[in-house]
């Protein structure tokens, strides 16, 4: 038992180093005013600065792309929740037998390459609704689709942890409409799943490159990629900050959901 514990800890340490070391290297490259060839142990604590971050943030093109990506992230999360929560609740309440089919559909974005998705949809809409393809917000449906494998599972797991059918029936019998039931009964009981789905969608949007590039939209990942040659330290600094923010949010969700589960498992009487 003790040997297994030691082995588990070793595996965790190795995996931790695998993730942390590149990030530390990235941090040194981004935030130290030391030539790359001189980055070693002896310069570990020398000339740290957050100036590259400010330089990058003062660039109007960067700011524009950052705001666009944030708007797209919020909109994509909102559309995801508006479409996905009622759909998955309906599946859980009335069509549980169809759940495996819905689950398979949700992983299709893993199977269909982004380029095929863009070519197909853009081809269909270029003549029908050219304004849609021209608009920056045409990215939202794509992002909703490519985030589906993560968001469906998050919402589905949240609903599986409660007795949705009974709660819906109880709420309806007390006079609540479907909308009221969703808003006042279901969503508060899957709020961790809803938050997870939202953050996962935002993470996908903030890191998505292919679709934005194919549709010629200047989102944050594209600008970061383009500015690597012009302002390499700044682009790495922004990338690292985004990574830390995303990881912190996911860590918070995980911690919050564990605390909630522990609280619910305690029956006082």
């Amino acid at each position: 038992m003790k040997q297994r514990n030691i082995l588990a800890k070793c595996v965790l340490i190795v995996i931790g180093l695998f993730y942390v070391l590149p990030m530390l290297s990235m941090a040194r490259f981004a935030f130290q005013r030391v030539p790359m060839a001189l980055l070693g142990w002896d310069t570990l604590f020398k000339r740290w600065t957050i100036q590259p971050l400010f330089t990058m943030m003062s660039d109007p093109i960067f700011r524009q792309s950052a705001f666009l990506s944030l708007r797209l992230a919020f909109l994509s999360a909102l559309v995801t929740l508006l479409v996905l929560v009622p759909t998955v609740v309906y599946v859980h309440v009335s069509m549980m037998r169809a759940r495996p089919v819905v689950e398979i559909i949700s992983v299709l974005p893993f199977v269909v390459p982004a380029i095929a998705l863009v070519v197909g949809i853009a081809g269909a809409f270029r003549d029908l609704a050219p304004w849609f393809i021209r608009s920056d917000y045409s990215l939202v449906p794509f992002y909703v689709i490519i985030a589906l494998p993560f968001t469906f599972r998050s919402i589905d797991n949240g609903l599986a942890s409660i007795d949705v059918k009974t709660l819906v029936d109880a709420s309806r019998s007390l006079g609540a409409s479907w909308t009221r039931t969703l808003w006042s009964v279901i969503v508060p009981n899957i709020r961790v799943a809803v938050a997870s789905a939202s953050f996962l969608t935002m993470t996908v949007v903030l890191g998505e490159f292919t679709i934005a590039s194919l549709l010629l939209k200047e989102t944050l990942p594209l600008i970061l990629s383009q500015s690597q040659g012009r302002e390499p330290q700044g682009s790495f600094a922004v990338g690292l900050v985004l990574l830390v923010i995303t990881a912190s949010l996911l860590g918070l969700i995980n911690r919050f959901s564990r605390r909630r589960n522990m609280a619910q498992s305690v029956t006082l009487l």
Partner: protein, 348 residues
């Protein structure tokens, strides 16, 4: 006088399965009607059709004479308590009870007073701020009952609300449900597969089988005068005596176990089974004239009453219910059995 809730020729199918077949039933104001039957007999479907969660294929459901067959559940003003704990986990006891009142846009002051009344009615004072996960199963069902009654429903629907509870709490809550139902005078449709529960709590029992009603009557009538062999077998314990009608009208039991007299069983040579309750079997001395000879197999003490199981020649096992203080027999004693055939039910 129109009934509070009425089903008229309701039919409901799920694919090939007929869950309700021309189901007709009336529930009067203040009456507690129990739908009793084995799993899959359609009792929960009937309740869900009344609540509006299932749509009838044909037939009508009326509430105080108003056709509500196609009305959505949130418009019906029926309170419901479910088998699974159905309290909203994110709301406290008082918020759960006030949920329906909030939807009905009652003022905060009204809500507070009605919630307090409801909490007092189900004797949960002091627990108003607790959350469902801080309550026992029995307490959760009390809150669910208070929540269902807080909206002053026209009909209360109870879907096996006691089945998830342990025996002691189940008994206590059963009495509580009956007391509160009588106090409020609300027409109530109660679903259970537990015959003891149905006999103890109901004004009227509706026994169901395969989507159809077998018998509707007062608990005493259903128990003492079952309309069909199914009702006789399902409600309460039964002894089954199979045999052939003899020329003198008595029933000659199979395996030469003896013959049952006391009534005319019909045409000679007819094969039938007589169903007799253990209460109608009396253990007597083996020498008593007209009694069946049997050997005591087991004596099951059950507090005030004891079940004496005896074996007839040929191996037929018969149970007799005896007041415990009158039990004098022991295992392997040879005894006589007097059977009151006049109360038995004949099954072909």
């Amino acid at each position: 006088m129109s009934s509070e809730l009425s089903f008229s020729g309701v039919r409901k199918t799920f694919g090939e399965v007929v869950a309700l077949d021309t189901f007709s039933l009336e529930i009067q104001h203040g009456e507690l009607v129990t739908l009793l039957g084995p799993s899959g007999c359609g009792k929960t479907t009937a309740l869900r059709v009344a609540a509006g969660f299932e749509q009838a294929d044909s037939g009508t459901v009326t509430l105080k004479g108003v056709d509500i067959t196609a009305m959505p559940p949130n418009k019906r003003n029926m309170g419901m308590v479910f088998q699974n704990y159905s309290l909203f986990p994110h709301l406290s006891v008082s918020e759960n009870i006030g949920f329906g009142l909030k939807i009905r846009k009652r003022s905060a002051e009204d809500r507070k007073s009605m919630v307090n009344d409801a909490i007092a009615r189900v004797r949960l004072a002091g627990l108003a701020d607790r959350f469902p996960h801080q309550l026992s199963g029995g307490q959760q069902q009390r809150v669910a009952l208070a929540r269902a009654l807080a909206i002053t429903p026209q009909v209360l629907l109870l879907d096996e609300p006691l089945s998830a509870l342990d025996a002691k709490v189940r008994g206590e809550l059963r009495d509580e449900v009956r007391r509160v139902q009588k106090e409020t005078g609300v027409a109530t449709l109660f679903v259970t597969h537990d015959q003891d529960e149905a006999l103890a709590i109901s004004d009227t029992i509706c026994v169901m089988r395969d989507g159809a009603i077998q018998q509707v009557g007062a608990p005493r009538d259903v128990y003492l005068s079952p309309a069909t062999p199914f009702v006789a077998r399902f409600v309460g314990a039964m002894n089954e005596f199979a045999g052939v009608v003899a020329a003198d009208g008595s029933l000659a039991l199979d395996n030469a176990a003896g013959s049952l007299t006391g009534r005319n069983f019909g045409a000679s040579g007819t094969k039938l089974t007589l169903l007799v309750r253990p209460d109608d079997v009396v253990v007597c001395a083996a020498s008593e004239p007209g009694s069946l000879r049997a050997t005591v197999n087991t004596v099951l003490f059950g507090g005030s009453t004891t079940v004496v199981r005896v074996t007839l020649p040929g191996g037929l096992m018969v149970g007799a219910l005896v007041m415990s203080r009158d039990v004098t027999v022991r295992v392997d004693d040879v005894v006589g059995l007097r059977i009151d055939t006049s109360r038995g039910v004949v099954a072909e």
